[in-house]
């Protein structure tokens, strides 16, 4: 939102870094949803450097009962993982997801951006009505760019809410992602004899590396 060019010289002096760190701390504590650096900068006084303050804050909370966590390109404070046992009262019962929904979610996370046809190809069954619906409603997946292949199919990608829920800094941190890729298991390999699909394959790979690189 505020990508204004760096002012050569600010009319008002930015607060000292210690103050900025306090501000980031206050904002992150007050919000349940992850907050982006851009949002932080927009809310803090002119001239502040939220990214630097964040880095300091993150260090400060290392090893504490709560942690400063990266969620996609946003930040949030979350309780330390080892203390979950204290929070039995706060535990929210999440709706049980069907096996189909969990598998579909995993396929989208690991193969994103991925089309419905590709999900069906991997699972060997059609994606039932309501599965995608449910994942969108949970705000774990959203629509990505259309694939530039005939029919320009819609693609699905995972959201920041997904990363937050599963405690991932970025989609690149998905467990076993590297191994799966090295084993060629994330490829969209066309069945032998289907030459026409080769173009699609290329694009799919392209799109994928794109998606995961974006996170850096």
């Amino acid at each position: 939102m505020t990508d204004a060019p760096e002012p050569e010289e600010s009319l008002f002096q930015a607060p000292p870094m210690g103050e900025q760190e306090r501000m980031v701390e206050a904002i992150l504590f007050a919000t349940a949803e992850p907050v982006t650096v851009a949002e932080l900068n927009a809310r803090m006084p002119h001239g502040c450097d939220a990214a630097e303050a964040l880095a300091l804050l993150r260090k400060r909370y290392q090893g504490r009962g709560v942690q400063v966590c990266k969620v996609g390109d946003a930040w949030a404070i979350r309780t330390a993982r080892d203390l979950g046992f204290l929070m039995r009262k706060e535990t929210v019962e999440t709706r049980k997801l069907s096996r189909a929904a969990i598998e579909t979610l995993a396929i989208i996370a690991y193969h994103q951006p991925v089309t419905r046809a590709e999900i069906e190809e991997i699972r060997g069954v059609s994606v039932s009505r309501g599965t995608v619906d449910q994942l969108i409603e949970l705000e774990w997946i959203r629509f990505g760019r259309r694939r530039m292949t005939p029919g320009r199919p819609v693609t699905y990608v995972v959201t920041q809410g997904f990363l937050d829920h599963f405690g991932l800094e970025s989609a690149r941190d998905l467990p076993g992602l590297k191994e799966l890729r090295a084993a060629g298991l994330l490829e969209n390999r066309p069945p032998p004899g289907a030459m026409a699909d080769q173009g699609e394959d290329e694009t799919a790979e392209d799109g994928q590396s794109d998606m995961f690189e974006d996170e850096s």
Binding site: T31, I77, R81, E90, G124, L180, L185, P192, G193
Partner: protein, 265 residues
Amino acid sequence: MADPQGGGDDDFEAISVADRVAAEALIVDVDGFEGPLDLLLTLSRTQKVDLRKISVLKLAEQYLTFVDRAKQLRLELAADYLVMAAWLAFLKSRLLLPPDPADQGPSGEELAAHLAFQLERLQAMRDAAARLMGRDLLGRDFFARGTPSGVARVRRVTHTATLLDLMQAYARIRTRDEFRPFVMDRDKVFTMEQALDRMRGLIGFAGDWTQLASYLPEGWENDPVRRRSATASTFAASLELAKQGQIELRQGDTFAPIQIRRKPE
């Protein structure tokens, strides 16, 4: 598809009771399978090897046996299970017969390798899903702020909507549209066949030049949509009749009314 050559090795009597119970359990459970690939994956576990080293031929036979037994038990199998059975029977023949040099298609080995890849990939996604769900989860193992927005409230109302709302709203509007032309257009279309029938009946009486517009059917002159359709089909019909040599056409000037008359014998 899968039955003729299967007769020999599918001798039901020869199977031990334990095997039969196991097979029936598998079949009764058919609703629990998420499609043929899932079933194949389950069957492949009996081979107890790395999926990369799996015998696709053996797997194909197991699957075909499964489908045959389902048939003997008169179980309705979904179409995609039967499609897979047909494909596996084809694959089996490819794997068993020496390759036909004239054949352009992929070899049995290539097809088998792809099936093994699909199974391995599905298994990998299953494992990935399990690992994903096994992670520390927000709201179960780690927690967000319990009291967000602690400070004095400045109330400001803003409106929001979700993507789902948006898409459903659009779908609602558009599906409404889809019906309208379908239901209503029928009675606003005057077909060329109708126009031809009408004109054939009338030209016999038109010895002299008459305006084409006067041939429009009754009740079609006022509603613009109906008039447009009737005019177009009547005009097209007049061209058709002129071509057949039944009438003559003339027009005084550009955009002037078109006149027709029966061709004098």
